[in-house]
Subunit: 418 residues, 2 copies
């Protein structure tokens, strides 16, 4: 069978499964999640054995130590995956929630009720634990999912898929609700994103190259973000200690992720006091600063920033720093170079806090808190399947509710349109 | 200037305007809508004169009387457009509404607030009054809009755009918030749907050909429906009078629209009583029936339905009729041939009503009411820019709220991620 035929058949089966899943109630879905968790714990040896095949191939291919670390499934990672499944089981089921109901003058009772999206295509790179996380979120929200992972994790993903399918069957759910594409051929991605008659949405997660490819070629709607160029603006009135702590956390706590700070904007009145102290803390953590002329005057060891540094997502211990004459210039800079992902202001000024929250067109806008909080768990969504910086459907982190839509239900008593 | 350059410049200006519009408060938007309404009433002569140019061209091109009727702007239509503008002014402004706010264990106060989508590309055919309706909804929801109407309405659309822009300027709003593409070249559509760096969403309205073209080629997310193949299922327990009235209304009241009934499914136990009576009412209204074998037994004048009739959107006084052994077969038929648009059940059975509402995967599902109620005004959204049958963003009729998205706002006091 050709790859095209195989993928189309998977999609057709996913659609059939989604039709059943739509009407499954919470207890059965939670039972499946619990069964998946138990199975991962019981069958660790098998998982580790299959993962070892991926690790051997990765070592042969000369992948970096960091990549191999991300690929590794050991007892600790497997326990975390099982805990993740159990956590999703404890979350409320969004399906069937009535988000509003009202009565029209003619007596029609009109309501909106949450329903699953249908079939989700999830395309991602490395980290095999994402396979389990994504499957759990899709299942709990009543969606069927087709998972296309990275080629380096193929054996790990296939054994995980096998165990998940066993749990589905055991608990009376359609086995095709969760499917892993059993090939490393990139052709599979091209085929998935053309199947708009079966798939309702594509969620790509990975490098900018993968995401741009999917976004440019997909006929299925795509929820995605290309990159996170996150800014913090330290306002004139900022509390110095808050500014130092929040900026340090946003840059250093985990520099390789999309919600880390990439550019620091500093009001010129506070810069002489703030920037040298900030630079000292960054120096100790090994952060390289690339600054504007005024920054370099205050932080002599800083390198001069080039035009390419302002829109850059460094994903590393590198930070672009610019001194600005006021908040308007900070807003203009964010509008020009930002990625609509996450921005924060550090301020003690009530009006500036309000204005910044209103003016910044990003999925998460914070006052006096770290950009690292743009995350479904941290914001209280319970879990997260990804972050969307397109405005459609769900702007920002997407949890269970964001994997649903609403339909209208109407209770009548013979009403006709006049 | 090439068409590509012209459209891109319009898009860039729209984006700039949207940045201003985002922060405009309700009174100013409502004042602009009022000013637009007054201007349409005051400048009727100009509008009618420009419309006459389109009408002359239409007559020369030999357009049908129905097409010419749709194209005509007379005193009555202009008054209705002005009333439409004033109605939108009375609707609540969705922008700035906080749809939820909660506190995290670390003290972060997290909220979701409604914001405009940004720039909307609206691509439509004929009816110049749609130009005014769409402009009003986009403006009220804080969005800039680029309108690409049908070539046969170009002069009408341009004079309307001119008057709307004058009203924007008079009330201190950016003139580029509402722009009409000043060309009939279809190339303009191709260029618009490629501008994903400026446009946030494309809403196409018109024939299936236009919509398929846009959906298949757009890099900007598209909200659309291809067609409405709407079903009514008359259950065994249906009240006969209700079934007759609702089905008659759904087929006959306005057969040329997307929420008219196209296929009638009848439970075999009620068919002998219901179908002959229904056929008699349809006969008087000139409805042609294309039925299954059992239908023809009960309604001898019916023509035999072919396989091509089940997925057909007739948009005319033609109805496909099928007798089914039970609700499950009705649901299967809808799943196979339906368009996820609108379906209704006529029943007196409590459990069947609930099951139908839950099982049918359409944007509006009704019990004992006409499919013709799938309409933003009728369902209480206040107004409607279109109906979306993709699951993403807003499934079903889209009003002002559906032209917005939400962003997260976070009030902190120095919180960092641990």
């Amino acid at each position: 069978m050709s790859i095209a035929n195989m993928i189309e058949q998977m999609a057709e089966e996913a659609k059939k499964a989604s039709r059943q899943l739509r009407r499954i109630e919470r207890p059965q879905k939670d039972a499946a999640l619990e069964s998946m968790a138990a199975r991962l714990m019981d069958r660790q040896a098998e998982i580790i054995k299959e993962n070892q095949r991926d690790l051997n191939a990765a070592k042969e291919a000369g992948l970096s130590a960091a990549m191999i670390d991300r690929l590794t499934l050991n007892e600790k990672v497997i326990r975390e995956m099982a805990e993740g499944l159990r956590e999703v089981a404890t979350l409320p089921d969004p399906v069937g929630q009535v988000t509003g109901m009202w009565v029209r003058p003619n007596g029609l009772q009109v309501g909106r009720v949450r329903i699953p999206l249908g079939v989700i295509g999830f395309i991602y790179e490395s980290r095999p634990n994402v396979t389990v996380d994504a499957a759990a979120l899709c299942l709990k929200s009543g969606n069927a999912v087709i998972l296309k992972g990275g080629s380096e994790a193929i054996h790990s993903n296939l054994i995980l898929a096998k165990l998940l399918a066993e749990a589905l069957i055991e608990t009376g759910l359609p086995a095709k609700a969760v499917q892993v594409v059993p090939t490393t051929d990139r052709e599979a991605v091209k085929i998935m994103i053309g199947l708009d008659n079966y798939l309702d949405v594509i969620i790509p997660r990975g490098g900018e190259g993968l995401i741009r490819f999917v976004a440019e070629h997909s006929r299925v709607p795509v929820l995605k973000h290309y990159k996170g160029v996150c800014h913090i603006f330290v306002d004139e009135s900022a509390d110095l200690e808050t500014a130092l702590n929040v900026c340090f956390n946003a840059k250093v706590q985990r520099p390789g992720v999309c919600n880390a700070m990439e550019t620091l904007l500093v009001h010129e009145r506070i810069a002489p006091e703030f920037l040298p102290a900030m630079a000292e803390r960054f120096r100790e953590a090994g952060v390289e600063i690339r600054g504007c002329t005024k920054t370099i005057e205050l932080v002599p060891e800083a390198k001069p920033a080039g035009e390419e540094d302002w829109p850059a997502e460094f994903l590393d211990l590198i930070l672009a720093v610019k001194v600005v004459p006021g908040m308007q210039e900070a807003l203009d800079h964010i509008e020009r170079y930002g990625s609509n992902h996450t921005e924060a202001i550090i301020t003690r000024d009530y009006q500036n806090a309000r204005s910044f929250l209103a003016a910044v067109d990003s999925s998460v806008v914070l006052v006096n808190a770290s950009t690292r909080f743009n995350d479904g768990n941290q914001l209280g969504l319970g879990a997260e399947i990804g972050i969307n910086t397109s405005k459609l459907h769900a702007f920002g982190p997407m949890g269970l509710e964001e994997l649903t839509t609403t339909k209208f239900i109407v209770y009548g008593q013979g009403q006709i349109r006049i």
